[in-house]
Symmetry: C2
Subunit: 228 residues, 2 copies
Amino acid sequence: MKPLSVHTVIVYSGGMDSTVLLYDILDRGIRAEALSFDYGSRHNHRELSMAKNICENLKVPHHIVPLDFFKGFFKSALLSSGDPIPEGPYNESTMKQTVVPFRNGILMSIAAGYAESVGASEIVLASHGGDHAIYPDCRPDFNRAFSQAVYFGTDGKVSVRFPYEGLDKRNIGDIGRKLGVDYAKTWTCYKGGLHHCGVCSACNERRYALRFEEKMDPTTYLDSAKPR
Amino acid sequence: MKPLSVHTVIVYSGGMDSTVLLYDILDRGIRAEALSFDYGSRHNHRELSMAKNICENLKVPHHIVPLDFFKGFFKSALLSSGDPIPEGPYNESTMKQTVVPFRNGILMSIAAGYAESVGASEIVLASHGGDHAIYPDCRPDFNRAFSQAVYFGTDGKVSVRFPYEGLDKRNIGDIGRKLGVDYAKTWTCYKGGLHHCGVCSACNERRYALRFEEKMDPTTYLDSAKPR
């Protein structure tokens, strides 16, 4: 029996979570097309060039959607128009400053429209349990309602899946290691320098996920002395 | 007792439906801010200049969000990159060509993020019963799911309302007449010429809504001979 030919659009940042998900769906024989968004965040230029390289290597069609309006219309420390990136562990108060309002809703709505336009049957996003505390548009109740909205709003043509919804970032790191993801080629740091800073909240999470303490993290950090 | 100070973001095209809704919410004493989207449709330049003028007259803050990516990523006769606009009555086959996939989901997601960013408590959209047959992202089941997604995805900070969901376009036309809307200053025609063409599916709907046959429609149509 011929396998079902599933055509998926992945919301793809070039970060470690979505890179693992991309490897994961390809490993399952799913036809993937990657959509990245240039929304003017500080680390966007680093992420996007990594996303481009990874897709080229995997022979996955890759499109970058320019979202120039983000800078003018939204306020967040994540955007280069906002405040400095907070440092330290990934707790509520530091992370709150990095919220871009309804970001996942916006990116997935565009991905849903694109998917319908090209005849893809689903979109996938790598949001996970570690993001739930602070980003409301990563939580299961949002995911359920948004999936329904896309299903109804595309007349049943497009489904939405969040395969890592129940996982934490270290689970994802472990999955990717098994799938052969080269984490040195993925980007996480919110600061967007030449190397990962090692101290912003995103770098803290990355070090935890990639088991830095167990010497399994291949990332070059500018400052790796600070404990998580 | 002081009335509740509601701050609303209206998704505002400059067409007749959203213009009536804008008058309607102002009439109820609600503080309104209007968000228009430049997504490269043929009639966008006509709509947007009317939207700008109406907001200036009503002293409503008005922002135009540029969505340049639409042209490159979506296919629809509504976009100037697509096929010619179909003529004739507003039936399924002609309208299908004017669907921009998941358009309302995309526009409202951006409006939701903007609303959260400026501290507005709700967004409103003037979609109505006449659109249900062909545009899935105008139907009640989409509206319900999407409202929930925004509520969860903004941590309860932003609600979504579709005040005209149960009405048809003629109901809306009648409401606007009572509120003093000058329909000659609103735009509907999909073709985006100097005057309304009078024969595209949108003009057909407009003539019905504004009671053209009863000589109540102030619109100048290039071709007004054809019956609906």
